[in-house]
Symmetry: C2
Subunit: 228 residues, 2 copies
DNA sequence: TCAAAAGTGTTGACCCTACACCCATGG
DNA sequence: CCATGGGTGTAGGGTCAACACTTTTGA
């Protein structure tokens, strides 16, 4: 049995993270300023190299944890970016991952990266092919959000229907009729209505709900297809 | 400006191709028998390593061309497979690509690979994680076929509606009502009806059609959303 | 009392599904 | 002349989009 594949090239492999958050009815991305030349000081996605003993998921989990201190962040591969000259320093293949974060006001980000949340409609020019990565991630987020209940990953555990609708409006970049939206989402029977109200955004207050993951898994087993 | 990223690991990177064909109303995959230990002689996808001066698309194109002699094969990334121990010989990251081929009776495959077409419902056990790759590719093919006019990549230029329907039945693994199917596909105005009939599969003969790509691009511009 | 957001129903249009019979022709 | 696959229309149900007014309450 052979011990190695002879004469094949070895490449640097990286992951770059498109980290979405939702705050003040806005979708945001977590960006950083590049620490080294070339393009030092320019805006960049947060990423890192994949080690010999890590899978891509491992590497992404490590990077996200180091940055945010959080575990169990929802994340998924977007696609690989492999143009030979995409990184001028050295030939690097990078796999883009998107991640969804429940933003909290008291959230502390590792100072090391100097990361900042930037509204999605105000993304500055980014280094290398990171713009394309963001575009691909936005597209993927749209289709995923439509067919899988991932929106909840961007909201606190307890949220209101208007909050959820506003999130979907931000993701889809279009307005949604509030009556149709709440009818549709409630008809799926995935939300548990709580007795509390959230009065932060109106005087009347809006009822809080919780996503019921168990019920979701059950319903999928019985052939529910989530579409919103 | 730095010239290299120091101290980061370099990995072997490969692509593996899930090559779909359609023949005799069956979806098929092009498989090969592995030429080296371990798992020598076992069924495998066709793949190869990515060179320092190639993108993933380049490498896939090269491999597909070497195997089939064809250019402009429709192909698309499925996802990356990166488990550390997925290849027992050496740590290798592999990106799965699916490809769609218009099978022709006189088609000559490079002898080097000893490749064979295998009906999709009779896929033998495959090496490494190639089974997972096939599953992922089948899933991707289903969603792509539903939303993009890629079915035509598996048929000859001229085809009949019953052929097309049978292809979609194979992809979806379910039967489709022939009246509803032809109404739906014809209503999209993407097919050009020819004056010829194909009499291979019936005495009456079925009219041949051609996919009109220009019209498709036009209609998409005007907001058509292909769904079948 | 007013401003601001939450909540709630109905209707018409369209789309999708289900379903059965005749046609053309090679053998 | 008959067996085989090709081709075609309709009706009913369900789903989706459009639409406006009332409620609550903090300021």
């Amino acid at each position: 049995m052979i011990k190695r594949y002879a004469q094949a090239d070895h490449l640097l492999v990286a992951v770059d993270c498109i980290i979405f958050g939702f705050d003040k009815n806005q979708l945001k991305l977590l960006l950083t300023k590049r620490a080294l030349e070339p393009e030092k000081g320019n805006w960049s996605l947060i990423g890192g190299f994949v080690g010999k003993q890590e899978s891509l998921d491992d590497a992404t989990t490590r990077i996200l944890h180091k940055l945010t201190g959080l575990k169990n962040i929802y994340m998924e591969e977007v696609k690989a970016f492999s143009e030979v000259k995409r990184d001028p320093v050295e030939r690097t293949l990078s796999v883009a991952y998107y991640a969804l974060i429940k933003m909290k006001p008291n959230m502390k980000l590792s100072a090391e990266y100097g990361a900042q949340w930037v509204p999605i409609d105000k993304i500055p020019p980014l280094i290398f092919d990171h713009q394309q990565m963001v575009e691909a991630a936005k597209k993927k987020l749209k289709t995923m959000a439509k067919h899988q209940p991932i929106g909840f990953e961007l909201l606190p555990k307890k949220f209101t229907i208007p909050q959820l609708r506003s999130l979907y409006e931000a993701i889809y970049e279009e307005e949604l009729d509030k009556r149709n939206f709440s009818r549709k989402i409630l008809a799926m029977n995935l939300l548990e209505k709580l007795d509390e109200k959230d009065k932060k955004s109106s005087k009347k207050g809006a009822f809080l709900y919780q996503f019921d993951k168990k019920r979701y898994i059950d319903l999928v087993r019985n052939g529910l297809s989530f579409v919103i």
